[in-house]
Symmetry: C3
Subunit: 651 residues, 3 copies
């Protein structure tokens, strides 16, 4: 369905005198903003004392904003329970992996598993929903705020232990079944009852990876259950509104596909500059993109969360200038608000919302820029957002993002397994999936992420990163897939309960891939293994496997073993390919799949949506995109400035 992409902003009426609200609303509208998020940290104002609610100030704010024509996204305040609640129920505080209670004084000071706190969340959510659920200006609800932020998905409280035991009993039914599934006979780890089972922290050395994998699954399910307490109430009391949660960059401790099942829209908070600062990239990359952000990280999350949202996603918080939380916080280049906005829309975003309307002059985020300066003067970002809004209107309605030709299967469960047992410390699921994504996107392709449970119909090429456990149903789906399938190492190397499959890796994909993995090694970069692919020498630089079977070898290690195998349309890469090997191999496969490739300049990316192709230049300097454009430019020029955008109307 074609629609006009929209702009939003995060606003905290409780931070500013009521007398300012009306002018703020008018200024938002003037800037082209249509949506405002409010309320998500205001519990101490909703309930200043235990049991005494005060929603009148918020009603007034909602009315003021609504009267100006703005649509409201209401946040439940459960990420910031007030001090009096903690003092009443101190065991709701989370406990760290090292056993330290994480106290009050900032935010997210709660354990997902604490049933008393869940009841409190239900109470405040119900109170808000009863008050505002049918307000005509309210179009959406955000549950809580940034689940998992500050490393809070995992908590090691007695409540978590108790819930974990219950979760395990539901899964395994008998303790004997659990002992068998986990292989607890090893090191006499056998339990006599579920009550004996501890959380997998604080042991003398590493715990059973089956134990940890189940713990991670449990913890993810706890986030889902916690969220569902609120969405159930909101669906009941505020029907017809979009339910949303704001996800984050590279927060992976819970399954976003699963949590999104209870939501209408996936949204996420995009902070490109800080995200680049903390990623383990080479200095050249960090230096070149220091004030624009990595050219793939934003798009990676757009595509991932669009999949989580079953096609619908928003940016709930967009970085508007320097922020406060990274080790170093450079100023984005002029133009980046517009670039990041256009890129999000190109990837299918319905809404891009900025954090926040006005820079806060107090508390933790004083160094976090806003659309307006703390003294109320419009900041650079507001000008760029206004320009973006104008351009959006010029282009009119745009079709929703449609299915790409290429898909990458993204599995949180596999990510957890690799965190539990990397075997080589540089074997990172994030790095791997980002490398695949980058290699495909550098060719100008639209790329989808898909859940391991998703159908693959219609794709011409599917890449399967290290999918540690492959369910039988998934194996069947992959077997029936008739496009090219590229499978990365370690796929199918574990059963659901973290055993090596009886037929070894790739387990249920053995027949499809025509191989058996007989041995694997990890190594530091200096021990890289040479690979000959089409008479050029590359390396496996972190991992290699020895495989045997009836598949054909299309690349060999120079010490004589298969490096990439092929059986019909299914390819297996028996190691961690260096950047060049991954790129060149994918080039060949993409061409073979009949997909057309754009020869994009370094640092430039592109995506199509509807009948538009958006080009974004992540370089600080000017480049030419003349070789990539055949149609009419409706925005920008072929001589594309640094941090600039061009849009081509497709034939």
């Amino acid at each position: 369905m074609a629609r006009q992409p929209e702009l939003g902003v995060c606003y905290y009426p409780e931070h500013w005198p009521e007398v300012m609200w009306e002018q703020d609303a008018a200024d938002m509208v003037k800037a082209g903003i249509t949506h405002v998020r409010v309320g998500e940290f205001a519990w101490s104002r909703f309930e200043p004392e235990p049991g005494t609610y005060d929603f009148e100030w918020l009603a007034s704010a909602i009315n003021t904003l609504g009267d100006a024509g703005l649509k409201l996204i209401l946040g439940t305040p459960t990420a910031t329970p007030p001090k009096w609640l903690i003092d009443k129920m101190p065991d709701m505080l989370p406990i760290s992996r090292e056993g330290r209670t994480r106290g009050f004084g900032s935010r997210r000071h709660y354990c997902f598993s604490h049933m008393g706190y869940r009841r409190e969340c239900a109470r405040i959510t119900r109170a808000m929903a009863e008050r505002f659920g049918d307000h005509p200006a309210v179009v959406a609800w955000q549950t809580d705020n940034e689940y998992g932020c500050h490393n809070t998905t995992h908590s090691y409280t007695p409540a978590a232990k108790s819930n974990f035991q219950t979760w395990l009993e539901a899964r395994y039914e008998t303790i004997g079944a659990l002992n068998e599934a986990w292989g607890n006979v090893f090191w006499s780890m056998e339990y006599l009852s579920f009550e004996e089972i501890e959380l997998p922290n604080q042991a003398v050395t590493e715990t059973n990876p089956a134990h940890r994998w189940d713990y991670r699954r449990f913890a993810s399910d706890e986030v889902k259950a916690f969220n569902k307490v609120q969405t159930d109430i909101l669906r009941e009391l505020s029907p017809g509104r979009d339910l949303v949660h704001n996800f984050m960059t590279f927060v992976t401790e819970y399954d976003h596909f699963s949590v999104s099942e209870e939501l209408d829209v996936a949204s996420w908070d995009s902070y490109p500059i800080g995200s680049l600062d903390v990623m383990p990239f080479v200095r050249e990359n960090k230096e070149h993109f220091v004030r624009t952000g990595d050219p793939d990280i934003q798009a990676y999350h757009h595509d991932l969360y669009r999949a989580c949202g079953r096609g619908r996603f928003w940016i709930m918080e967009q970085q508007p200038g320097p922020v406060n939380w990274a080790p170093y916080n450079p100023d984005p280049l002029p133009g980046m608000q517009r670039l990041w906005g256009w890129e999000a829309f190109a990837h299918g975003a319905e809404l891009v919302s900025y954090f926040r309307w006005r820079q806060a002059p107090f508390a933790q985020e004083q160094f976090h820029a806003g659309l307006n300066r703390p003294d109320g003067v419009p900041d650079r970002a507001l000008h760029e957002v206004t320009q973006l809004g104008t351009e959006l209107k010029t282009l009119g309605d745009i079709e929703a993002a449609t299915q790409a030709d290429v898909a990458i299967v993204y599995s949180y469960d596999s990510h957890w397994a690799l965190l539990n047992q990397p075997q080589g410390q540089n074997f990172s699921y994030i790095v791997q999936t980002l490398a695949i994504y980058r290699a495909l996107r550098e060719k100008g392709l639209n790329v989808d992420f898909v859940s391991p449970d998703a159908p693959l119909d219609g794709y011409k090429l599917v890449v399967l990163p290290s999918q540690i456990h492959v369910r039988d149903e998934m194996a069947m789906r992959l077997t029936n897939f008739d496009g090219d399938l590229i499978v990365l190492p370690r796929t199918g190397s574990r059963t659901v309960s973290h055993e090596i499959p009886a037929n070894l890796a790739p387990g249920p994909l053995s027949e499809l891939l025509g191989i058996k993995v007989t041995r694997a090694e990890s190594f530091r970069e200096f021990a890289a293994v040479e690979v000959d692919y089409r008479s050029k020498i590359y390396t496996f630089d972190r991992w290699r496997e020895y495989v045997e079977g009836d598949a054909e070898a299309v690349a060999h290690t120079t010490d004589g073993h298969p490096a990439i195998t092929r059986k019909k349309n299914a390819y297996y890469i028996a190691g961690w390919p260096d950047e060049a090997l991954l790129r060149d191999f994918l080039d060949v496969r993409v061409a073979a799949a009949g997909l057309s490739i754009l020869d994009l300049p370094f640092g430039v990316r592109t995506r199509t949506r509807g009948n538009f192709r958006v080009f974004v230049n992540y370089n600080p300097q000017r480049v030419s995109i003349a070789d990539c454009v055949s149609g009419e430019l409706v925005l920008g020029s072929l001589d594309l400035a640094g941090a600039d955008v061009a849009i081509e109307r497709l034939a």
Copy 2:
């Protein structure tokens, strides 16, 4: 007042048989030593069992030393409470930021806030003062030992929490005022009473910077209160004696100006070799000065603590050879005792005292050299000290240090604010103030540090490092100052309760400086911003600000923004200048202020006191100072050997 600089030594009669004391005293006198510090770790000998005092051995030692003509500095033993006291009152132990109790077994095992321990300190101090307060050989008292050493200023005990709540109530009166001042509406951090307030450790993520800033101020006040318990007793029972405490290198967790208000003399413990080893300097510096020490760190502390002592300062402990506590402990070059001593006297020290008389053959400091070896043979240091004593006598009385032409304002409060919220991890107040100090001192200038509360009359040039909060009174003083004023970035960027000023930074200095800071960014060195100053290209290499206003730009960034501004006599540097920019800009300002500069060779430093100018050569190799000397050398030569000293008599 002209006086003869003197030499001292730290001595532990309780470590050696009484039979040795008399000879030791004679040997001290022979070496030219006049002062001896005793007693500061001997609680278990003063009170071997609870309530049973034994001061007779100390009386005997004092008499022996006094009879030899030595003057005694008596230390209270409160840095080392004995085990029986801990066992009686275990909650006096400090608790670390991570919540771990820090136990007995070394020293400083107490929390400053524990009122029971304060009473015990009063008791032992009173007992000592009653016994020795009027002893004619006793000329001074040292309270405790090295406050803050081993990271002990901050403790997270229930006692600290309770005192902190009391401190906050005294400061804010109502909880509403505190909530307002801290901006606790942010993240629902509002409190209903002072009793709800926690110490700012152990939270899920960063606590409110206002919370932490007040905690740091509180903790500093606790040190002052703890110290005052003792000084009140000593002033009463030992009138006429100098009260002193021994400060340390780069220990900054409490305000030394404030604590010194209760003292007569500031003293400090100078360990140049280890201090260099632990500083974050480039390897070239560390390597070149590895056996001499950084050429500015010692002088920096002389000048800082001279300011704290209102003109009076001592070296209480001078490193006499290799020590035990740094990661690596090289041997100082022969000559360094004499060099460090002369340098201290040049900066105004009344006394330089060595740690210790004889190397201890047991316990924690066995690798810490003394003036004598453990076997009683004079070590290299004793020979150098003896030479120094002889030279001092040759020169006779020297005038006290007088006010310099140049001052740097030093603010502990600003230092704490930057530790709390660096925004860029390399933004260090210590590094900044040392860089300014070094740049000025490389020109051969005498430099004063002054407190933010000090008058600026008489200075020709004042440098104001990042003064985070500027009180109105200070703003007025700066405005009235008629010399050149050079202001570093982030000055005036916060109110006293850590809010951004309503008129933005530099807040109350906006009119004086003619600027408003509209945006700031931090970055790693590779993202440095180019600066054009007098047609030469430098960089801001950690920080830059965008400023607007009516000030004139005397330097620009190459992307077109003001880099250094000027309004009348007030300059603002809108970024972190690299070493060359800082040096060259100061060169110009110093010259403009009519100050004469010496062209010192690399690694050579100088200072004048009275009618002498002392040159010290921190290089291991020989250099010529012929270009710097116009008068008569009363010590040393123009061809100055490595680790050597020359003294010029000024006209």
Copy 3:
């Protein structure tokens, strides 16, 4: 006594269906394996519920294996107490240095000092021994598993504190004697009773090194006492069987000489690839040997543990392929099983046993290879082991290892002192002893390690690494030694209670060495001190000492001080020699001692046993050993392939 070296394997019948055992046994025999270790992690199967034993399955396994002709090594399961036992006695869990209880979920979750757990260990050991002690197939018992693994020697429980106090009382008798010995007058650390003494963790800053040294000795004695509980029972109930424990690589927290006094054979677990990965070596070394292992680490442990076992040692666990526990886990080159096996036998091993028979498909060690793959197919290692077994038979009986010409004195007590007080952070006893060992072994010499208590008769050259405390008896033994004696710095620098000797270092060796150490310094590599030895310039690169005395200087520092001294046959190196200086100095001394040197190619090592000389090539590539071989090769060739072995029959 000449004997046939033998092969073994670790086997876990409890992991596999009983129906597989007979075939497994047959396959072991077929591969040339004679010994099988079983049982050491199976407590939860021996005693599934408290007090209910089930040994029938093990009896069946033993019978099946024994019937196939295999000899059984039975392991007591005390490294893996089951959960029900922990829940009954939770205070048996160890506590970390940081005060955190280390819980159930992996292994080694017990404190050595817990007397209740010792009783439980006695109970299960007695039950096993009563059941199997006289079984004819049982030839040996292994106590527990890998003492000290996962950093478990030191535990900070109340039980440990109580035992420590008792240990101290037994050692010092009166608290006054302890205070005197430790020098507790320093910092008022004096105790009024033994009950006041804490464990040396959690203090504010470093505790008394005397305190820590005694704690380390105590902790080592606790391991010995814990082990003796089991060996006493086994000697009683299973007479005639070898008692053994499996030691580890570079685990040094307890005195292996001392613990071995209760054992018949020392054994150890050899994991060359992972050991190299975690050592602080230069990258060149790590890269070159990444798939073969460091060429000296294995031999170092063979020679050390042969000394502990009074001539008798086994490899209890030999790495058979990639493992799971290092940060990176490369695959050993084909051939390495055979190479490591031959090398162990050359150093005197009676048995080399592989870990494990079949790769476990579940729990913590899934990535740890076995002789067979998880699917039961023989892995590369099984083929190599089979070849090794065949070659062993071809050569027949071999004499036991005999005394070498060269000895290095190895002192756990000195190692602990240096860990306690390195003074320079790079002063490592392990690095020092390995450097000496490597320099000697590169010359083709057989090398013995000897205990500080061992006689030195028959050696031509003895090297004494930093022997911190030298007992009078040892001093006499060294004085009476008539070969060349080479003494490293810091020797004799402390009394038994960690005081500096009254006559300074080297204390009781002063007369023998003709020196007194008057000063020492540590430094980073960039502050290295130049040394002139035989007109070539080397360095002391971590440490230097100033010495005086009547010894002759055979090398000088270029700043004019003695660097290496000689008095008669006793040499003292007054610093940490760089690699070249150590090698060249030892070359001269070895030649002077009349020992013949082999000019081995880089990466090749050799050892003689009986009338065979074994060459092993740790390089991945081919080298020639033609210059080193004069006799007949009974295995391999002069043109030695990478990872290959050659054996020369000596005349």
